[in-house]
């Protein structure tokens, strides 16, 4: 279906179901219960899941397929955001033109940056991209203040031209919308103590994420994707095989830059403001972590990695000492004190510590990331069955198997 093989179709359907049902799945705990703070099903966080999912999917097209590790992709995200906000200021608060422009501008910017950085490979390439991103950050922060709003950033103002929009009444802040449907619109459903929130912005971002995911599957399975994987394995051989590898890597770079721009545009569509910190190097590093955590070169891994990191960032960081004390109140004081002191290192502001530990565990014990680990485990379990199966189908036409699985 959709021109995909059976496994890929299945994966796409599962991901579609998960994203569409996310308001339920991410809110497993009733409102008011002590576990309710682990609920991730509120609009702001759900939007982040899918938007950073898009960012990571795109990053994976470059890093996962070609092996080129960019440390500067947040620059494209940021440029996308600035482009989107300018579209909203000048043209209309409708998010569609904003999102389209963010993709185009990020694409052009990544063409320039990629053209220069791809003159080198390996660590030098990474450093060049990092340098570019930090330069962009510095420019946005200072020199380009007339365009970027400097430190304070940009947001739509009452007196912006917005030539396509009807004038808003005085004192009414203009809101991002899709042909009149405001992105912030939410509809709540109460059910026996559970509260589920359905948010217009989330569903728009989720649908765009599904399209982006589908396109990435097509790229992965295409001859173009095969060439990119060949770049990663043995670029030297590829050159002697009659392939000009430069434009291939540049194409992958620009595509991933456009995905980043799309994510940046969507961030603005959901929350109409942007500041230079969006381009800071930690933001570039975060997408690297997401991709590696979930599984480099796997289709769904980066999305999972993005979700996991955003969940930890928003949920773990909210847990504070008094909460921990409440949880361990049933223990003897001495024990509970120790537990609270110990665990408080890993929550609240210390959530980065948990992330670091998790990252180390995954990299050391699951070199293929979470998805690689799952598939590897499954393979080991079913290996004997597989052998029998291949023997049977040997005469049939079977697709190549090095294709990255789920």
């Amino acid at each position: 279906m959709f021109g995909l093989n059976r496994n890929d179709t299945l994966l796409l359907i599962v991901v579609a179901l998960l994203t569409m049902l996310a308001p339920f799945l991410l809110n497993p705990f009733p409102e008011g219960s002590s576990l309710a703070q682990f609920n991730g099903g509120y609009p702001d966080l759900m939007q982040r899941f899918v938007i950073f999912g898009i960012f990571a999917i795109g990053f994976n097209i470059l890093f996962g397929l070609t092996g080129y590790l960019s440390f500067g992709h947040a620059a494209f995200l940021g440029v996308g955001s600035y482009a989107a906000i300018w579209m909203m200021k000048l043209l209309t608060m409708n998010v569609i033109p904003a999102i389209i422009l963010s993709v185009i501008v990020a694409g052009l910017f990544s063409l320039l940056v990629g053209y220069i950085c791809l003159r080198r490979s390996g660590i030098y390439f990474s450093i060049l991209t990092l340098a570019f991103a930090q330069m962009s950050y510095a420019l946005a922060y200072s020199v380009l203040t007339p365009i970027t709003g400097g430190e304070t950033g940009l947001q739509p103002k009452l007196n912006d031209p917005r030539i396509l929009d009807a004038a808003v009444g005085s004192g009414v802040t203009p809101r991002a919308n899709l042909f009149g449907i405001e992105m912030g619109t939410s509809w709540q459903m109460d059910w026996n103590g559970w509260v589920f929130t359905f948010n217009a912005g989330y569903y728009l971002a989720a649908i765009i994420m599904l399209i982006a995911f589908y396109l990435s599957i097509r790229i992965f399975r295409s001859p173009f994707g095969l060439m990119l994987r060949a770049v990663k394995t043995n670029q030297n051989r590829l050159n002697y095989t009659g392939v000009n590898t430069k434009p291939y890597t540049l194409a992958a770079f620009v595509i991933s830059g456009m995905y980043a721009g799309l994510a940046g545009g969507l961030l603005v569509a959901m929350d109409t403001q942007v500041g230079p910190e969006r381009m800071f190097w930690t933001a570039s590093g975060e997408v690297v972590l997401m991709t590696i955590l979930g599984g480099v070169g796997t289709l769904i891994g980066p999305v999972l990695g993005a979700g996991l990191i955003k969940y930890m960032e928003n949920i773990l960081s909210k847990i504070n000492e008094s909460l921990l004390e409440a949880w361990f109140a049933f223990m003897p004081d001495a024990v509970s004190d120790v537990m609270v002191t110990l665990l408080s290192l890993f929550v609240g502001k210390g959530w980065h510590l948990t992330l670091g530990l998790l990252f180390m565990i995954v990299v050391i014990f699951l070199p293929g990331g979470l998805v690689g680990g799952l598939i590897g485990g499954g393979r080991r379990m079913f290996r004997s069955n597989d052998r029998k199966a291949t023997r049977k189908t040997k005469s049939n036409q079977t697709p190549p198997t090095s294709q990255t699985a789920e």
Binding site: L4, I219, G225, R229, T241, S402
Partner: protein, 252 residues
């Protein structure tokens, strides 16, 4: 008619004269062997043909076009394929994908963003790659990952990759090194068959004299960067200079 014409090629690495005024002409449809002791400059010479190295002086003409100053992928696109001394394959990919990649490069040229179609639905490429693997005896292993193969199989895979492009000139740098006797003989048979069915021109570097004398129509002997003898196999066998070049290095 000479398909490859090498004139006065010299190459120096620092203080080492790796190639010294080498002249060579390879006739179309023949197997031209280059032999010589270790470090004679054989691989260096091939590197000058495929754009890996640029000679300090001299010219390399292929099919009437100069091979100097154009990029490796352009050289391949005009019909020159090379098997390397240490197998250069796509280690993480399956054998089938390894052969599909050069087939795509042959069909689509040096660059094409064909991102919407499915690689495994491009049946012309798929069928062609499978046929080549069949011919070379790796069809049964086509879904295995290339890195898991034996050294001999890797070499054969690399040969399959080159053959899939239907080159005019095939350069083979020690194609049987690391192969068992049986595999070596199979490779000899394969290369002979290729000569008959495709009329392919081959330049082959080889240490194994059994292979050389089974295949070559013409032999050039390289020692310390200089062609010290060139002739048909029968005449090379008895040449005292050749014996000396080999015995000389063995005595060291």
């Amino acid at each position: 008619m000479a398909i490859l014409q090498v004139r006065n090629v010299s190459k120096r690495f620092g203080g080492l004269q790796a190639l010294n005024d080498v002249n060579l002409s390879v006739e179309k449809g023949t197997v031209h062997a280059i032999i010589g002791p270790n470090g004679a400059g054989k691989s260096t010479l091939l590197n000058c043909f495929v754009g890996r190295l640029i000679p300090d002086t001299g010219t390399v003409m292929f099919d009437g076009k100069s091979l100097l100053g154009i990029k490796p992928h352009q050289i391949n696109q005009i019909g020159v394929s090379r098997v390397f001394q240490t197998p250069e394959i796509f280690g993480d990919l399956t054998l089938l994908e390894n052969v599909m990649i050069p087939t795509f490069a042959h069909r689509d040229g040096a660059f094409k963003v064909n991102w919407w179609n499915r690689a495994d639905r491009e049946s012309d490429v798929q069928d062609h790659a499978e046929a080549i693997l069949q011919e070379i005896g790796l069809y049964e292993k086509r879904l295995e990952i290339a890195d898991s193969m034996s050294r001999g199989d890797k070499r054969r895979l690399e040969m399959a990759m080159c053959l899939s492009q239907d080159p005019k000139l095939l350069l083979l740098d020690e194609p049987t090194a690391g192969m068992s006797r049986a595999d070596t003989n199979a490779t000899i048979d394969l290369l002979k068959r290729l000569g008959e069915t495709r009329g392919l021109t081959k330049v082959i570097i080889e240490h194994d004299m059994h292979v050389v004398f089974s295949l070559a129509n013409y032999i050039s002997v390289l020692a310390q960067g200089t062609v010290i003898a060139e002739n048909t196999p029968e005449l090379i066998k008895g040449d005292p200079r050749v014996k000396e070049a080999y015995l000389g290095t063995e005595a060291e």
